[in-house]
Amino acid sequence: MPREKIDIPGQIDHLSIIDKEGNLDKDLEPALPDDFLLKLYRTMVLGREFDARQLSLQRQGRIGTFPPITGQEAAHLGPAAVLRDSDWLVPSFRETVAELWRGRTIESILLANNGYNEGAQMKTGMNMMPISVPVGSQVIHAVGIAWAMKYRGKDDLAMVFFGDGATSEGDFHEGINMAGVYDAPVIFVCQNNHWAISVPRARQTRSKTIAQKALAYGIEGIQVDGNDILATYAAAQEAAERARSGGGPTLIECVTYRLRMHTTADDPKRYRTDEEVQGWEKQDPLLRYQKYLKAKGLLSDEEIVSISDAVKAEIADAVKRAEERMREIGDPGDAMSMFNYAYAEMHPYLKEQKDQLAAELKETAKEGDNG
């Protein structure tokens, strides 16, 4: 056999259901109950409005820096929406809408974004990992969780989110490769928002798509229009069925765009043009989904306004509660709490350090009274 072609699956599909003009591909339309469709819409609006609110809070110094998600609502809510309670969600740090969908509270996010560890407190049974700041590192955790699910004979799955930049990390590679080897029930969802801070997608990897990286691991891969929530949902649904039935992992590339800054510390004008941003604003996933719901007769202009008002009110309440909570805790808050949760049991030398600080703070307080 001289030079011959090897028979490997070398094909990657792109999925789109509602196109940029809002036209629907009826054959591909997932059959979802109306209330579910509306719940998706409301949650997208909540994410969008919460982003706006946090930006103004940050500008006023009422919270610290955070990563906005505007423009990526469909790209991460669609996949997250296929999860059951017994499945696990393993987020990166830019899937706020998915976290809210999973039951994380607005208050907890505000607390965390204002530097209170209380905000990252995890209620057990949420079946969710906390956000993971080290890019790509969480990918492997999902594989371990999925391996354990399979070991326990469950038909649950783990869904992990990461960005286009994360695909350059060794951890992404090690995790996805191991998932393939163990046929682990994982769905790898890449939020390809075209930028890793200032590094464009094209400088992150030479491959035309992220989805084709699945070919390296012998697993299924698909690229979807990430601003089309029906497409992101449908692709994830297909992947979920594969995972639950022992078909192994899937890599889903959601092509979307980060409309705002990387974090509030970032100035996108340094590295990208307004034209590019405006081009993507025209593809707003929220507007596209609105069109669809309206055409379906599920959403009226009045309802759009009322939902938006309701959501804003919900956020306002949450902000109030969160700020009350922060006042209760106090700024800087009970210093002693930083010694908690380092270990199941505090070790003696740490106890000594804690007692020492307690004594120092008492002294300071006294001095305060005297002075």
Binding site: W88, T124, I140, A342, P348
Partner: protein, 318 residues
Amino acid sequence: MAKMTMVQAINLALRQEMEKDDRVIVLGEDVGKDGGVFRVTDQLYEKFGENRVVDTPLAEAGIVGMSIGMAVYGLRPVCEIQFSGFAYQNLHQIENHASRLRWRTQGGLNVPMVLRAPYGGGVRALEHHSESREAFWAHMPGLNMVIPSGPRNARALLVSAIRDPDPVIFYEPKALYRAFREEVPEKEETLPLGKSRVARDGDDLTLVAYGAMMRPTLEAAERLSEEDGLEAEVIDLLTIAPLDDELFVRSAKKTGHILVVHEAPRSFGPGGEIIARLVEKAFYYLEAPIHRVTGYDVIIPLFSREKHYIPHADRIVR
């Protein structure tokens, strides 16, 4: 009670914990059919099958990252990193996640995993197979760093490590894997993490050591007794971090003369912390400078010369 090498004793701990608790999973490179390159997991694959004894691809961050996920889900993974010299590939997974998840989630999640890795010189191995970098792990809040010194305490400490609700780095002195045998009871035996032990009583001076250095240290103590009539108290740390300073501080108060022994390079090695604790807690009892007999601040040489690098009794006696 059977006389066992450390390899057999560790194998016993793994076997018995796996029998008792189906949450215990062994994973790593070549831990399955091969039974581990040092045979520490010998026969576990045959006994428990490939779902309990998992051969992994060649990916240390993957092994540890998967262990974190398994532990968070409720299993008790015991992963093997084939040599501690390749555990830096996964150091970020321990520093960024395993050691912090309890803290990050304020008690919501925890990571009951054990990372086993052979460390240290003395087996005529290739480069990267003889280092001692326990100080890296000892410096990480939220982590336990354990190093046994004999078959019996290796078994008892590993059982405790597997049951501990927090992550444990378990460094195994490969030079002791088959160096000697000890009686190891078939019936369960544990040792608390975070507790050192007195390996030899004495009133004249204090020697602090751990792991593979216990043998030359005890040998030196015997020679000091025979040759100079000096009785050295020898402290075996067993747990490096959180460091138990109670015994060596008490001993220092008694003897006033202390020597610290470790195989790791001297600068910024474990010895520094031990000395700092002694200065904090026993300063007024110290009668002489505390000396360190350690590896030098260079890479351990290839094996023809390693005996010059690794502390031995002569160097300790001086």
